[in-house]
């Protein structure tokens, strides 16, 4: 599903964010990416949806080599991914419904299908009763649920989440994790960068630890492994 082969990312300012990462994530897996701040976690995640381009090495997602992918093909590639961010990244002037529908409008889906599918995913995240509200009228957890609904509305094979619970209180974080588990149970691969020790230690899954731009540990059912 996602393969990286000796991937090096060097920023123009000289910082080497990933220094030879090789990894293989298979379809249906649930993977935590952990590590101290500034260790290269974010870059590792961004390489997967081509917000960052590898300086050398191959990044292959859904069979597409992102290192050699043409700029003009990036939109098509991203449509096969769902991306969730720490700060939700919802469009503030669109309603809950419109925010989710937007991801389908972009790929020029039929209006009838859009309606049906948007309501379906909003039901899955438990927000069907708030479709007409604006993001500013929702709590942080609810906003993140809208963002998750948007990320899965086009039925991607992979959902990539960059610290999705980073801005949420513990209780809300658990609600969000339940949704991710539900999505994963339906066969979607999930890659999640996180700092949340409690979650990683409770919902045991594959843990990839990144330190100094390299894989320090890759363990199925592993624990968080860092001191608070």
């Amino acid at each position: 599903m996602i393969q990286m082969n000796n991937v090096i990312k060097k920023y123009p300012n000289g910082v080497v964010a990933t220094n030879g990462i090789t990894i293989d994530i298979r379809q249906g897996e649930f993977v935590y990416v952990v590590g101290p701040s500034g260790a290269g976690k974010s870059t590792f995640i961004k390489l997967m949806y081509r917000e960052e381009k590898a300086t050398s090495g191959d990044v292959i997602v859904n069979g597409i080599n992102l290192t050699t992918l043409k700029q003009s093909r990036i939109p098509k590639m991203r449509r096969q991914l769902g991306i969730v961010f720490q700060d939700f990244k919802l469009l503030p002037r669109l309603t809950v419904y419109e925010n989710v529908a937007f991801a389908m409008e972009v790929i020029e889906e039929q209006p009838k299908k859009i309606r049906q599918r948007v309501l379906e995913v909003l039901e899955l995240v438990g927000l069907k009763h708030k479709v007409r509200m604006l993001p500013s009228e929702l709590s942080g957890g609810e906003q993140q649920r809208v963002a998750i609904a948007r990320s899965i509305v086009n039925m991607p094979k992979v959902v990539i989440a960059d610290e999705p619970t980073g801005n949420l209180d513990p209780e809300t974080s658990w609600e969000i994790m339940n949704i991710f588990e539900e999505i994963n149970a339906r066969g979607t691969t999930i890659v999640m960068a996180t700092h949340n020790r409690e979650i990683v230690n409770t919902i045991r899954r594959r843990v990839i630890a990144i330190e100094g731009g390299m894989i320090a540990r890759d363990e199925y059912g592993g624990d968080y492994g860092y001191e608070g």
Partner: protein, 300 residues
């Protein structure tokens, strides 16, 4: 990749909605467009009228060919006919008008008074041919060529003065052109900057669009359409103002300029041309300004 009809409708709908959502920015952009286009419009009207005056002056330049005095009437007639034919054969010549010495004297009497009618008994004047060149700038060359023909007593075209006039007109036109270009450049700069501010405020929006897989053109088209609306909205006041003002000025000046050399352009087609210019420039700078401003934020 062909765009679907409903996507095009969506882009139009979005561009309209966006005008409303960004109320103040829309107002600011439209105001900037309005002010600049008003300047462009006023300036265009002035320049076109100056150009008309200059062209009139140029076209007024003519060559006077004084024909040799020949005693025998028949011989004189033959010589004149031959000269007219020769002048007509020059490719640069547009028209040749014959004026007999009696007609010439009548003109003088009209201009300087009845005392001159004494000369009717013994007219000292020459028969004259008035010649105009196709291109007024060729006048000097045509005059030189005519001077070489037989039976020309004297060829005059206001040597010296004409060159000065042409030089002056040429400089005025170049200055006008530079001013218009400068104004257009300023307008584009002003408007694209205003539009850029509205777009910078929405860079998050663009980023999100790109992250959910929107193509560049999908992101760009609503913005470009919005720029077009801004251009059109901004051209309304300038078009109305320039039209109303010129219509009234024309009504006031028309009776006063009757019979004068100096004439201004009539309302039509001038106002159609100027209004067309205003709205075209409005749309172009709106579209161009949006296009350039969005481009910067598409690299996500």
């Amino acid at each position: 990749m062909a765009m679907k009809g409903r996507t095009i409708r969506r882009h139009f709908r979005e561009s309209f909605k966006s005008l409303g959502r960004n109320g103040w920015m829309t107002f600011a952009s439209v105001s900037a467009v309005t002010v600049t286009l008003l300047l462009v419009g006023v300036f265009a009207v002035i320049m076109m009228n100056l150009n008309k005056v200059a062209t009139d002056l140029e076209n007024d330049v003519e060559i006077r060919v004084y024909i040799d005095l020949i005693a025998d009437a028949e011989e004189a007639k033959m010589a004149e006919d031959q000269l007219v034919d020769e002048i007509h054969s020059l490719p640069e010549v547009a028209e040749v008008i014959y004026s007999s010495k009696e007609q010439e004297l009548d003109k003088l009497i009209k201009d300087f008074g009845e005392e001159l009618s004494l000369y009717e008994q013994n007219n000292p004047l020459h028969n004259v041919l008035y010649v105009k060149a196709v291109d007024p700038h060729e006048t000097a060359n045509v005059a030189k060529a005519i001077d070489k023909f037989d039976n020309t007593y004297e060829v005059k075209y206001g040597e010296g003065k004409v060159e000065k006039l042409f030089n002056f007109i040429k400089i005025s036109r170049n200055v006008g052109l530079v001013l218009i270009l400068g104004l257009l450049f300023t307008a584009m700069f002003l408007i694209s900057n205003t539009i850029r501010i509205t777009i910078v405020a929405r860079r998050d929006e663009i980023e999100i669009m790109k992250l959910v897989g929107a193509t560049n053109s999908f992101v760009r088209i609503p913005f470009v359409l919005e720029g077009m609306w801004l251009g059109i909205l901004g051209s309304i006041i300038p078009m109305v103002a320039v039209s109303v003002a010129y219509y009234n000025i024309y009504q006031i000046l028309l009776p006063r300029l009757k019979g004068q050399m100096l004439q201004i352009l009539p309302n039509t087609p001038l106002l159609y041309q100027v209004n067309g210019l205003i709205i075209t420039i409005g749309i172009l700078i709106g579209v161009w300004g949006s296009f350039m401003s969005v481009r910067k934020f598409l690299k996500v």
